[in-house]
């Protein structure tokens, strides 16, 4: 391996004065001994200087104008990957919320139906207007010919007695819950 090949990797560092003093001394000694290395180093220096002095190109006059047009005319893609990701996340969140809401409603409904006559809207109507109560509807058909007034009163009395027999506290709660829900739906 010749002196030139050995010191080739250090040419740039030598030209830019990045060599440590020891290596620099060795390089300069090699320069004295090898004509080939000397020629190569001077040519690289020349080339380096020439590259630094190459003509500078400049942008066309309408560069800024075209850039402005580009910025304002290039449409923003709506279905970008990020947007699609965000939209799918939001959509899945909505679905999860909807499912949770429905399941909660089902749970509350099942809780209501487990207590007999509680939470039934007709019960309220029963109490308010016994004539239109479900018990009074049974006062048609065969009972009509008998003593309807008695049956009616018996039934209504029975219903009223039933409603008073049942613990009124949960009944009121379920009623409140029902009316709240009705109000929410109206809103």
């Amino acid at each position: 391996m010749g002196e030139c090949d050995r010191f080739k990797p250090f040419i740039s560092d030598y030209l830019e004065k990045n060599l440590d003093p020891t290596t620099q001394q060795k390089f300069e000694k090699a320069l004295e001994n090898s004509d080939e290395l000397q020629i190569l180093t001077s040519r690289v220096r020349l080339l380096k200087n020439h590259l630094g002095n190459l003509d500078r190109v400049t942008c066309s006059d309408d560069f800024s104008l075209r850039l402005r047009e580009k910025i304002h005319t290039v449409p923003q893609p709506f279905f970008k990957r990020q947007n699609v990701m965000r939209m799918s996340m939001a959509f899945s969140l909505v679905i999860v919320l909807a499912v949770a809401l429905v399941s909660m409603m089902n749970l509350s409904d099942s809780a209501e139906t487990s207590i007999p006559l509680q939470g039934s809207p007709n019960l309220k109507i029963d109490e308010a207007n016994p004539v239109s109560s479900p018990a009074s509807t049974t006062n048609s058909g065969i009972f009509k010919t008998d003593s309807p007034l008695d049956v009616k009163t018996k039934n209504s009395q029975q219903a009223a007695a039933d409603s008073t027999k049942v613990n009124p506290l949960p009944n009121r709660r379920t009623e409140d819950r029902f009316f709240k829900r009705v109000d929410q739906k109206k809103e």
Binding site: L47, K48, L51, C59, S60, F63, S64
Partner: protein, 210 residues
């Protein structure tokens, strides 16, 4: 005399008041469009030089610079002040230039497959380049540009950034995301390769430098 001195002082204070790139991008991130205009004004020509020397075509180089600024505009909030603005924008331009080179390579492969012998014969020489009319420097410059274009991509990028754009090795290392030692080695090898390719031009270069 007094006037020139005061002019000098005024110029110095104006130069001192010049906002840095990082200040400008920060202003732009807050919505100041004028700061973006200043950045465009500051960087359009250096970026064009870089991309032109990298890909060797002025029209395409300008398109790449346009795209670079467009991306800066669009992704302004991605810039964080941990790196210099120049590093960031040169990285964008360099990546776009590399993409363009890859695209060009694919096109070239495709066109070679499609090219018939007849088409090859019909290639018309460029008559506009009259050697008698051409100035020596222009010819030399074209040859140098051609030699740069023939360098492998990784060598081309570092030599353009170092010798034409004048970046430090550390800055180049940040721009191309390669260790400092590798950058130094690549620059040296690129110079040696270029010197080898332009060996026939040495006399012209010597004359030009005189």
């Amino acid at each position: 005399m007094t006037k020139s001195t005061t002019d000098g002082i005024t110029q110095n204070t104006q130069a001192a008041k010049q906002p840095t790139d990082e200040e400008l991008i920060a202003r732009f991130q807050k919505g100041d469009a004028y700061a973006f205009d200043l950045l465009v004004k500051r960087y359009k020509d250096p970026l064009l030089n870089f991309t032109y020397r990298f890909i060797g075509d002025l029209v395409e180089a300008e398109d790449i610079v346009q795209e670079t600024f467009y991306r800066v505009f669009k992704n302004k909030h991605y810039y964080k002040e941990v790196a210099k603005f120049s590093t960031w924008i040169y990285t964008i331009a360099g990546n776009l230039a590399k993409t363009e080179l890859r695209r060009r390579k694919r096109r070239k492969i495709f066109s070679i497959h499609k090219e018939t012998p007849m088409e090859k014969e019909l290639e018309i020489p460029d008559l506009r380049t009259d050697p008698e009319k051409e100035v020596n420097t222009i010819v030399t410059e074209k040859l140098i540009q051609k030699a740069i274009s023939n360098l492998p991509k990784k060598f081309r990028q570092v030599i353009v950034l170092r010798d034409i754009q004048g970046f430090s090795y550390e800055e180049i290392s940040s721009i191309i995301k390669v260790p400092l030692g590798t950058v130094k080695s690549r620059v040296n090898r690129a110079r040696l390769k270029l010197q080898e390719d332009l060996d026939f031009l040495q006399e012209d270069l010597e004359q030009l430098s005189l």
